[in-house]
Point group: C2
DNA sequence: ACCTGAACACCGTTCAAGT
DNA sequence: ACCTGAACACCGTTCAAGT
């Protein structure tokens, strides 16, 4: 009936397979993606899927790759380089938290570095603006990346199993009764569990301060010059491209 | 022959099962631990194992718990509180790196917090010595813990897949050719890949400096009360036991 | 109290065969 | 070029039955 003059509907597309798989993963995590369920969902034989995507692992890889691309670039916000670095870290965290399964999948496949890319580009500019160059600059960039991604990994992990085993409560009560008993406010704060948003911001801020204020083994005073292009520790070669 | 007057050898012990399982995991990771292989290794029927340990998941849980306990306490080293905090972080990282599979297993089971415990206890003392109290102190402790564990997670992940997908090399070459082209040393450093040991130390040091020097939004001079036990940034309370 | 084999309900993947 | 069912080699787990 409906126009049979050509291969109008190729029946099953690689696109369709990816879409259906993405839906399954989004709902119940990658563990729930089984080739047989996927086939059922699509109304085809299991083996058809293999023709389109090779096998389960490359299917998952394709999904990860696609999602990573979707995350897109990161544009820093704020006035000082330090503030802008912090904003990049926070944006990165936001993106990762928005795709709860993605981070585990990327992690399991060793693609963490791949996911760094957009943020890394942004960070390079900022540490430059802060006056760092060369290897120390690279170190600062990586320190922030490791910090942000590592934090989210720990954070996500915590969220995954809300019931802590020995009961965080008790653990810190015991602690409170021991040598550190003179600081009940601390014991309470630890027992309450972390406030990830705040903790993240505080951590990154502290790290960035430490990194930018201390060009390894040189005086900490960053000079207040702040012409628009290259303020503090007077980088030698900030030449060409226009502001 | 050898004394048969009692249940000398109960044939199969929970201990034996755990030991054999631990061996399998140690060699090829938790993925390699299959109930059937384990049974073969032990020379028993698969179902006997179930009698002793319940099922695969609780078997793994027991393994994790046991290993976490083995890790033991952490004793800070160094003169200033900052240095001692850094030493705790480094000790924690060492332990985690020594049990490469453990960290993934703990992570997957949401027991990260559990693993924090020994290091956390040590850190509480140190931030106290640095003059922090209450909630900010708790925040500092957690910031360091998240930093250390997160770092190792990222680091381990990287080690697991030495071949990076888009080729870190190329990625940073392109970057080098773009806007950041004026800093070839940085491009080279990034393309070379991180030196985890150094990066970790630098990161933690920066974080700790940032945390201990800046009690969030209050004048940096700590020690309002602190009676005899806590002057600001001198290590005061090196407590009871011998020097 | 401890061990067993058989059986169930799942997997991912391959292959020869269809159109 | 695309789809198919049958089959293989694995899983974890349960159960009724042995001693």
């Amino acid at each position: 009936m409906a126009g049979r003059s050509g291969p109008v509907r190729p029946s099953l597309t690689r696109e369709q397979v990816l879409a259906a798989a993405a839906a399954l993963v989004k709902q119940h995590g990658p563990g729930a993606l089984t080739m047989r369920k996927l086939a059922a969902e699509l109304g085809t034989a299991v083996t058809s899927i293999y023709w389109h995507v090779g096998n389960r692992e490359s299917l998952l890889e394709a999904l990860v790759e696609r999602t990573v691309v979707e995350l897109g670039a990161i544009t820093p916000r704020g006035r000082t380089p330090a503030a802008r670095v912090v904003s990049v870290a926070r944006a990165l965290r936001r993106r990762l938290l928005d795709h709860p399964h993605l981070i585990a999948m990327v992690h399991e496949r060793g693609l963490t570095e791949r996911m760094f890319q957009p943020a890394a580009r942004a960070l390079v500019d900022e540490v430059h603006a802060a006056g760092l160059r060369g290897a120390p600059a690279a170190e600062a960039v990586r320190a922030v990346l490791f910090q942000a991604v590592g934090f989210v990994l720990v954070e996500r992990n915590r969220a995954r199993s809300p019931v802590q085993r020995p009961g965080e409560q008790e653990l810190w009560d015991i602690q409170g009764a021991g040598e550190g008993a003179d600081d009940p406010a601390l014991a309470r704060a630890l027992a309450r569990g972390p406030q990830p948003d705040k903790l993240f911001t505080v951590s990154v801020r502290a790290l960035v301060d430490g990194l930018l204020n201390t060009p390894p083994s040189t005086p900490p005073k960053a000079s207040p010059r702040t012409s628009e292009s290259t303020p503090p520790s007077a980088p030698p070669s900030t030449p060409p491209s226009a502001p």
